[in-house]
Subunit: 429 residues, 2 copies
């Protein structure tokens, strides 16, 4: 087996797409890894870390640092025991020192884990959600590292959760294939858009069948109140509106700001403060109830999610496809959420996050929580055309992907065009 | 101004120095950065991140990613307002995405911040501790970013702490220069050593005047009990013994293991579990009292330290010179510790950590907490010969360094000899 790594960047800052209170000018990017083998099936495994531009090369360097663990190794034993493969990478002591289990190195490990799952699902001729949902409860828990979790979730409790969901799997899979999975859209809500564009995109969201939208807030309170009013007037009373502060506030400021927004119907308040601040989230959640706190896209690992759940710091769990160490860790997080009875509503958007994370939510529905109630996956209509199996949204719902793999394969042409700094999009700029 | 970066590795795994329950074969390493200017004084600034081998190149890539922020810029305004410089680097939104404020990117920012401080102190012709301790309370708090801290420590409270300590500065500085700062030694305690070596090194520690030693634990309970007994019999009842589990345990296991050690006289139990687990540390601390919990060498940033203090998760705060984003963030952590009345006993050892972190503790004594009571800096007698101003230990105490700078400059000869992979030590292996 061999690895290739790429630095791929889309010049999104040229159009202000994706601007928020913390990230004014992102170039949506992917530090990309490709696992190739000499097997006759010709399948390759694809994974990536989503970043917003500068530093994408640092993640690529971290992908390169994983090469000695993989290159020249026999692939089959790695794919056959993905629980052991995860531990091999995450618990390598010198690489662990660089986190531990957080930041650049942890995300890079996640991309390699994803690439291996992509390859395994392609070989099994199944989309990843279905491949995972066809594993036995025992095989699923074997994917999870319970280190540091056992005070909140033991292997036995996790097995119980999965066994309880087992009888209904076939029925739920049929329903998922029939109805799809609920989505909400962030397309209208970026801070860089003017009022007319905000209103137009809100209308379009409703027309497209979405039942929830999300607005970025946190830069200016009067502006936020005004934009929230425009959105509410445009979408009407039946569409849910969430707001997202992208970690802009301190704890007391978050509480004051949300109270000043004065809207108890908000679907949730997202990332009110530092993603590391478990106790802060708990304090905010208590103070702004009944409005719920949502967080997760920047939560470093399962240990922090465990505490956010233990402390009541979140009421909506927004896991991300490329922040933690891949599918294995996201299964741990699904199990924690199920244990605490908190809905998982993943973060998506960026580059390929919608394509990747839908598999996690669909696994959750079929084999873990067993419910779509109160659950929804973020959707941003952006950059999907660069993927081999772009997400399909119909009537505001993700259609379950049917193509084998993890959804993470970018078109070869896009990989070449947006390669940084030598692809034509960058070399010509 | 220009930057050079280096990958420097010492082949310490060949002798099993530094082995513990989580890190069996480290090659102590430094991802190193050098700030050079065209100023006539000829001074250069030196900083580094300590790692344990593989992945040191990833940190070096992160140092390289900071180049566009610095190279070609005028140095003087950066040095004159180091608070603004810190925010410039830490809040750069694409780089922040890679943490936020944790892991590889955050540590690399810390190394650059340290290199700038090294240069500033050299220009001021003062050792860094003294340079910082000569700043006004206002100038010191201006170095601190209070974002995410204000629910536990406001700028005004920090100012109060510094102002209360101001009258005694001259007296404490004189005492520090006279007596030095307390140290404890980890030299005897590594897991890879046999009993005879353990006993010999314990005896030597006492002979050298240390009043506290530390043993690594967590791999095997019976072994730990036996080694603790050998150490206790060797050093006698008046020498304190701390134990260090290096994050080996889950929360319930930590509580059981420490109880099974059965020694209420332990100075502290260090890193009982994941450094991210604030709530877990609090639960352990409550259960093993009166034995105290110590942690910090892997704590990612000031936000996690804030919570460990808020939750009672640590009773001994072990900040590290190269884990957080440099001196500025360590000053924030000193102020948090002072607010909560918790002693700071830094982590050291590794490559150059003793040389670097002593400046933080000495600043703490002169200008922040104003006390050496119950405070001690870790000391490991290892690799000091590679530094231009190696630590000086006398009668178990750090002598206050008098040479201008931050203590972080490695000898040019060592930088060349241990350069990885082309320096002679590696090329010849």
């Amino acid at each position: 087996m061999s690895l290739s790594t790429l630095d791929i960047r889309f010049p999104t800052s040229r159009a202000m797409d994706g601007s928020d209170a913390m990230n004014p000018d992102p170039d949506y990017s992917a530090a990309y890894v490709l696992v190739e083998t000499d097997a006759e099936d010709g399948h390759t495994g694809h994974g990536f870390v989503f970043t917003i531009g500068r530093g994408n090369d640092v993640v690529r360097a971290a992908l390169e640092a994983l090469r000695p663990h993989l290159v020249g190794r026999e692939l089959e034993p790695l794919l056959a025991d993905m629980g052991a493969t995860w531990r091999l990478l995450v618990h390598d002591s010198p690489l662990r020192w660089l986190g531990p289990e957080k930041g650049v190195m942890h995300m890079a490990i996640g991309a390699v884990v994803t690439a291996l799952w992509d390859l395994r699902a392609k070989r099994a001729k199944q989309p990843l959600w279905q491949h995972l949902a066809s594993l036995s409860p025992e095989d699923l828990v074997d994917l999870v590292d319970f280190r540091y979790l056992s005070d909140a979730l033991t292997r036995e409790e996790a097995l119980d959760i999965l066994r309880r969901a087992e009888p209904g799997r076939a029925e739920r899979e049929a329903r998922l294939l029939e109805e799809g999975y609920p989505a909400y859209t962030t397309t209208p809500g970026w801070l860089g858009y003017d009022d007319a564009k905000l209103a137009r995109l809100c209308r379009e969201a409703v027309d497209q069948g979405f039942t929830q939208i999300k607005l970025k807030v946190g830069a200016d309170l009067a502006e936020d109140v005004r934009r929230l009013r425009i959105a509410r007037e445009t979408v009407g009373p039946d569409i849910a509106i969430a707001v997202d502060a992208n970690q802009r506030w301190d704890v007391p400021e978050a509480i004051e700001w949300v109270r000043a927004l004065g809207d108890d119907r908000l679907a949730w308040v997202e990332e009110p403060t530092s993603p590391d601040d478990v106790l802060g989230h708990a304090r905010i959640a208590e103070a702004i109830a009944p409005v719920r706190v949502a967080t997760g896209e920047h939560v470093a690992n399962r240990v922090v999610f465990k505490q956010l759940l233990q402390a009541g710091g979140l009421q909506v769990l927004q896991l991300d496809a490329t922040r933690v160490a891949g599918i294995n860790e996201n299964i741990a997080i699904l199990l924690l959420a199920a244990k605490f009875g908190v809905p998982v509503c993943p973060h998506a958007g960026g580059v390929g996050l919608c394509e990747a994370v839908q598999h996690v939510s669909m696994l959750d529905y079929v084999a873990v929580s067993g419910s779509m109630e109160g659950r929804t996956i973020e959707y941003v209509d952006h950059l999907h055309q660069h993927f081999v199996t772009p997400t399909v949204i119909l009537d505001g719902r993700y259609r379950a992907p049917l193509t084998p793999g993890a959804g993470t394969e970018m078109l070869a042409d896009s990989r070449a065009t947006f390669a940084y700094p030598n692809g034509p999009v960058w070399a010509d700029a």
